[in-house]
């Protein structure tokens, strides 16, 4: 009890110094958590990928399409359950800054393959009935105030001309990490319109999403699909949905690495600040540590006092930082709109924040604790705090 009493009271001895150190830790742990959350958001697509979904694209590049008739050939490959065509639409809603992802999809097939998108059954039926109908995710609807029945105009970029959709359904995510910032509409509507406007670009598909019966056979089925189109005008590359998503992350890997480095630099800076605080504290209390040793307390007890105080400060700052991460990340998510579809503070991030705070607490106490433990009593008693 006396030990804990000493730690708690020593921690609160210099309230301003302790308060500022805790504040510094709070900011560092919060920044670390936010940066890690942003890194996590980068991987949201990959993390949400299902093992039973493959993506087939043009082997040269995603930019190049594939003929629509591939769909039936892919469907015929043993082990394939469903195939859905999908195209990245890339339209502009009002202003280019109001970006959100839009996909033209084989609606009936596509949403069977994505059970994590949850609809009201009535709305889903209304969407399937309406060729110009569109589905928007909850986050997207909340960001721009879309409601069922609203007209949603888009200006085409990849697919030229003005496009008009009617919001027929709003989907929710089965989990918090499900991306609800997207818009989907009927691939047939896109294709029919392109037949009229630019006939040579009709019947062209960006990717085929393929659902397979047995995820363990994904490599074998991928090879079988690609084998169908070997030496054709549009050879294919089939990979798991996760690998496909990670391919996007790899394009921006330098940014991710940069953010990661900055997050650890923040922790290192606060470690230096904290170590300085603890060094000052230990130096001021050398005579007290010497007194304790003179009274018969072991060097380990004295070192544990320093470590305990350091850990108490680190834990206070760390827990406060973690507590602040949730509301700040939520606020950050609203400010960035649909830029980060899933900005979720994961358990892993919280664990890393706590680990970082405690590591700072331990590391900052190593040298001062060692000094306090090793101080010669007669020298410590002469020290003036």
């Amino acid at each position: 009890m006396q030990f804990l009493k000493l730690i708690v009271r020593n921690t609160l001895r210099h309230k301003l110094r302790t308060g500022l150190t805790v504040l510094g830790l709070l900011i560092a742990v919060l920044s670390f958590g936010l940066l890690q959350t942003v890194v996590g958001a980068w991987y949201a697509g990959a993390n949400a990928a299902a093992p039973d979904r493959l993506v087939t694209r043009n082997a040269i590049s995603l930019v190049f399409p594939m003929p629509l008739h591939y769909r039936e050939k892919v469907r015929a490959v043993p082990g394939v359950k469903r195939v859905g065509a999908a195209n990245w639409f890339g339209g502009i809603y009002q202003d280019p800054r109001k970006f959100f992802p839009q996909f033209a999809v084989d609606a009936a097939q596509y949403f069977e393959m994505y059970p994590e998108y949850r609809f009201a059954e009535e709305e889903k039926r209304a969407f399937l009935r309406d060729r110009r109908g569109a589905v928007v995710g909850r986050k997207l609807a909340e960001t721009y105030g879309f409601k069922v029945g609203d007209t949603l105009p888009l200006r085409g970029t990849i697919f030229p001309g003005d496009w008009s959709f009617t919001v027929r359904a709003i989907y929710d995510g089965a989990e918090t990490r499900t991306d609800t910032s997207q818009m989907f509409f009927h691939w047939d509507y896109l294709n029919e319109t392109m037949k009229r406007r630019v006939p040579r670009r009709a019947d062209q598909v960006g990717v085929f999403v393929v659902q397979i019966a047995d995820p363990a056979r994904s490599a074998e089925i991928s090879q079988a699909i690609d084998a169908q189109f070997r030496n054709s005008a549009a050879e294919t590359l089939t990979e798991t949905e996760k690998a496909f998503q990670l391919g996007f992350v790899a394009m921006t890997e330098a940014i991710v690495v940069g953010i990661r480095i900055v997050s650890f630099v923040v922790v290192f800076i606060i470690l230096a600040v904290m170590a300085n605080t603890m060094a000052m504290t230990a130096r001021e209390r050398l005579s007290e540590y010497a007194t304790l040793k003179a009274l018969g307390f072991a060097p380990g007890y004295v070192a544990a006092l320093v470590l305990g105080e350091s850990l108490a400060i680190a834990a206070a700052g760390g827990l406060a930082g973690i507590a602040c991460t949730f509301p700040v990340a939520a606020w950050f998510g609203t400010q960035t709109g649909t830029l980060f579809p899933v900005l979720e503070v994961s358990q892993a991030t919280v664990a890393m924040q706590l680990g970082a705070a405690l590591a700072v607490g331990v590391a900052a106490a190593v040298l001062p604790g060692r000094r306090a433990a090793r101080v010669r009593i007669v020298e410590g008693l002469r020290a003036i705090g």
């Binding site: 006396q2 030990f3 009493k5 000493l6 009271r9 020593n10 001895r13 005579s287 007290e288 007194t291 304790l292 040793k293 003179a294 009274l295 018969g296 307390f297 072991a298 060097p299 010669r376 009593i377 007669v378 008693l381």
Partner: protein, 239 residues
Amino acid sequence: MSRRVSPPLIEVRGVSKSYRRGGQVVPVLHDLSFDVQRGDFLGLMGPSGSGKSTLLNLLAGIDKPDSGAILVDGVDITGLPESDLADWRAAAVGFVFQFYNLMPVLTAFENVELPLTLTPLSRRERREHVSAALRLVGLADRAEHYPSELSGGQQQRVAIARALVTDPKLIVADEPTGDLDRQSAAEVLSLLEQLNHEFGKTIVMVTHDRRAADHAHAIKYLDKGELSEGADLLERSVR
């Protein structure tokens, strides 16, 4: 019938000590030998730098001599490893420092209780011991006060309570009145005398103050690390 004579509490045998300062060896104590009897109140006097505090530190087991031996109650403390020495200090020595050296974040009660946390006493037993010690030094009503809320004399009395609460054989006091006004100094010295008279505590006290030394039974003068010529003549009983 022969009368049984108890051995001295402290036996100092050929003790030397030097310090290294800037590459130079500075001798502090040179080949000291003397005894301190049980129940003695010994004053150590001498000019600054004569080695009084160094000698006190050696007797209290918070420093080690370069050579020689110090036996306290038959235990050669110079041969004890650091961890055993810490245990020995906790059990056998009470410390009274010039600047009290109380833990500022603990109350008077908690400061006195501190050395008892190293013993197997129960919480209730500890409370009883602490209360008794504080009553003895006349500060029972200040138990919940922090050192900053006490005068210098009161703080030193708390330090004395802390020194005696474990019932040690030996109490060492380094300039216990050096930071006190005359009135407080007199109270502290009376208290030390009471511990010596009534409880039979052996006390070794370093002091510059002749009036403080008058409370001791015997005085040893140190000069340049040696018991000065005629020290025996200067040793005197005030009993």
